[in-house]
């Protein structure tokens, strides 16, 4: 008893010292997870399937951002307004390439099966195959090594919060994440596209009778989810560098976030992402850094065991 009490007490002291520092990093990561998680949740809504190849959308966004940054920055060190427009260009590049890859994926790996009304196992296998094909193809074409992305800014501490430094990189993620997630929320809640996505998620057959073009809606859902995933890939690559296998672990965590918030539930995915990011970051106090991925996996199994519908519950096709 004494041993464990002492262990906990000493770790809680570390926790109090490091809390804000870890919290800031966790929130930034959480926004990235959230941006990828909404991709899972959107596709789950319209197809009732986990898009196993979403990790490769993330990866392709990362590479798109890398090449654009490399072409525009070269060896210069931009600042001021240059930083702002470079980041916007990077996000757009990541988003566009992510959306293109998502569209191709839907066309090649999903649509032929959907036309045939194939069993669910077939979709999963075809998506895994596509994922495998895509990231190994990236490895072949861009080299199988990790490479750091030219920085559009000089990363520095902008301000401190309770003594914890907040870096420019985190602020970029925060602003981009808030704008994109709020934007997505509004699009799904108010626009015609959002209405058709919700309609297909609720009941695809009835939606088609009411004049919703299902093929088009599914394609657009992939595009929206892909754009966010690709943009998140760029932002992730900015901090961690890009490599052909970069999609795997973040995507697994984003999926955990989607399940944590309640799969099919858009706001749930965002909240799940933030929660997971923070929980994972704080867990560093208790476990070695090497086991961080185990923590996320443990959360996934625990959620599936005790509350498979997630925190906010599965809500398919309602306004967020």
């Amino acid at each position: 008893m004494g041993g464990f009490g002492h262990y906990l007490a000493s770790h809680l002291v570390t926790m109090r010292k490091e809390f804000w520092f870890l919290f800031v990093g966790g929130v930034a990561n959480g926004f990235l997870y959230g941006m990828v998680a909404v991709g899972y949740t959107l596709v789950y809504g319209v197809l009732r399937l986990i898009n196993f190849a979403h990790s490769e959308i993330f990866m392709s966004g990362g590479f798109a951002g890398y090449f654009v940054m490399k072409a525009l920055i070269g060896t210069s060190s931009p600042n001021g307004f240059a930083t702002v427009y470079l980041i916007i260009i990077g996000i757009v590049a990541g988003g566009v390439v992510g959306a293109v890859v998502a569209t191709l994926l839907e066309r090649v790996a999903y649509r032929p099966l959907r036309k045939r009304n194939a069993p669910k196992l077939a979709y999963l296998i075809s998506a895994i195959g596509a994922s495998y094909f895509l990231f190994n193809m990236a490895g072949k074409e861009f080299g199988r090594y990790s490479i750091s992305v030219p920085q559009p800014y000089i990363n520095h501490t902008v301000f401190t919060i309770f003594g914890a430094p907040v870096q420019l990189y985190y602020i970029v993620i925060l602003i981009a994440g808030v704008i994109m997630l709020l934007g997505l929320d509004r699009v799904v809640a108010t626009t015609k596209l959002g209405r058709s996505i919700r309609a297909v998620a609720q009941d695809a057959e009835t939606a088609s009778l009411m004049g919703v073009n299902i093929d088009r809606t599914i394609a657009l859902t992939f595009i929206v989810g892909g754009a966010l995933g690709g943009a998140a890939g760029f932002l992730f690559g900015l901090g961690t560098g890009v490599v052909y296998t970069m999609g795997f672990t973040p995507a697994l965590k984003a999926f955990t976030a989607a399940v944590l918030g309640g799969i099919g539930n858009l706001r749930g995915a965002m909240i799940g992402g933030l929660l997971l990011g923070v929980a994972e970051s704080l867990s560093v106090v208790f476990v070695q850094a090497a086991y961080i991925d185990v923590v996320a996996f443990g959360i996934l199994v625990a959620v599936l065991l005790f509350r498979p519908t997630g925190i906010l519950g599965e809500r398919l096709g309602r306004a967020a």
Binding site: L49, A109, K120, N136, K140, F248, F255, F297
Partner: protein, 447 residues
């Protein structure tokens, strides 16, 4: 202009050209981040021989292949049904013959005989080693995963975890790990077999019970994560697993029965026979299992879980059973590989391994034991051939590009696999027609 662009033939040709363009990039030279377009441009502009006739730039043969593909496709659309029915009529006789039990046993005995004399026909040391490490062991793994994916219809992407557990248990039991061995004695790898199988089955049950209640896609992602977690633990628990260095002290199998003493050594052939014995045992066991009460319960759950439950089948129990039984072969395969190579590294237990086994099962035919064995033989021989004599521009990791593409292609064109299990094919046809119209489909499908 618009009429040309939307014309069916034009679209078909563009699709054919796009498919061949992808194939050209897949087989072409590699690029790098410094020269990201090198791989793509090289795939089309590099000089290569045109089927050995004359040298030309790569896009010429690929355009030619695209034209051939376009022609075959067009022919298939107009004559496909005729060709199909013709083939199925021709296949009627052999198909009926293979239904009969004596014929099946006969084929099995002939194949076994071929397998027995094979290492004496092939003398190349590369192929002898490949026959054990990459073919026999993979056949074993494929028939194990077939129980999970094919019989029970569960997608397990963490098969490598059980393989790793098997290998580490071998290292533990034989005293090759920093951890003190079981009962404090260094045992022969033979004793590792039952221990590994029991531990792996327990791991399968522990992982299966919570996750198998859930939807199939959740199971896939949880097993995927589990496969990664095992590697993380193996890599980081230095005191227990030896960390990223692994261990290289695992002894070979040895046999002491009375006066007989035999030690398996570095030569691959004795290991080939040892693995073959277990392949045959598992093959017999699983084909008996397929038609047993348990096998029928799996079929029932796969086809309609609610209906199965209503006639008193406990789905969770049978799913966990399939999961654990399938895992046991992976555990066993782990013992054989660990002992044969004497060493284990955490990095060799990657997701790529699980996917590789999955491809063998999907390509051969989910649920069809003969199909899965055939699929494993074909794919593993093919990938070993690529490793042995790689064509220009091929890197060993490119194999996974082909395997990934193969999964997608199989799902689009032949979801039941190369040699489909009759039951599986019928299920897929039923599912595609919407299960409500069973009679319609049945009358339509029968010749």
């Amino acid at each position: 202009m618009k009429s040309i662009l939307t014309h069916q033939l034009f679209r078909r040709f563009i699709t054919a050209a796009a498919v061949l363009a992808v194939v050209a990039v897949m087989t072409g030279p590699a690029g790098s981040t410094e020269a990201p377009t090198a791989g793509f441009t090289g795939s089309f502009s590099e000089r290569s021989s045109f089927f050995g006739f004359f040298e030309t730039v790569r896009w010429v043969p690929f355009l030619f292949l695209a034209l051939v593909f376009f022609g075959v496709w067009t022919l298939w659309l107009s004559r496909g049904a005729q060709i199909k029915s013709g083939v199925s009529q021709v296949m009627q006789v052999p198909r009926a013959a293979t239904q009969r039990r004596p014929v099946r046993w006969g084929i099995g005995v002939v194949l076994l005989f071929v397998a027995l004399i094979l290492p004496h026909v092939i003398n190349d040391p590369f192929w002898q080693a490949a026959m054990v490490e990459q073919i026999a062991v993979y056949v074993l793994l494929a028939i194990g995963l077939n129980v999970v994916v094919g019989f029970a219809g569960l997608l397990d992407l963490g098969f490598v975890a059980f393989y790793a557990i098997g290998a580490y248990v071998t290292a533990w039991v034989t005293g090759a790990l920093p951890t003190p061995p079981l009962f404090g004695i260094h045992m022969d790898p033979f004793f590792a077999i039952p221990i590994a199988i029991v531990i792996v089955m327990v791991a399968g049950i522990v992982l299966g019970v919570p996750t198998l209640r859930l939807r199939g896609d959740y199971l896939a992602i949880v097993t995927l994560g589990f496969g990664e977690i095992i590697t993380i633990f193996a890599n980081n628990l230095y005191g227990i697993t030896g960390g990223s260095q692994g261990t290289s002290l695992i002894p070979h199998f040895s046999l002491h029965i009375g006066p007989i003493k035999y030690v398996w050594g570095l030569a691959p052939v004795p290991y080939y026979y040892l693995t073959l014995v277990f392949v045959v045992i598992f093959l017999l066991a699983f084909s008996l299992l397929e038609h047993s009460r348990v096998g029928r319960a799996w079929t029932a759950i796969r086809e309609d879980e609610v209906a199965a439950e209503s006639v008193g089948i406990n789905p969770l129990k049978y799913k966990v059973m399939a999961f654990a039984i399938g895992a046991s072969t992976a555990g066993f395969a782990g013992v054989v590989t660990a002992s044969q190579s004497n060493n284990i590294f955490p990095s060799s237990f990657s997701l790529a391994f699980s996917i590789n086994i999955l491809v063998l099962v999907i390509f051969g035919g989910m649920g069809s034991i003969f199909g899965v064995v055939l699929g494993a033989l074909l794919i593993q021989t093919g990938s070993m051939y690529l490793l042995h004599s790689p064509p220009a521009g091929y890197q060993s990791s490119d194999l996974y590009i082909y395997l990934g593409a193969l999964l997608v292609v199989m799902m689009i064109f032949r979801p039941a696999g190369l040699v489909p299990s009759r039951r599986r094919r019928r299920e897929i046809v039923l599912s595609e027609a919407g299960e409500g119209h069973m009679n319609e489909v049945l009358t339509g499908d029968q010749p």
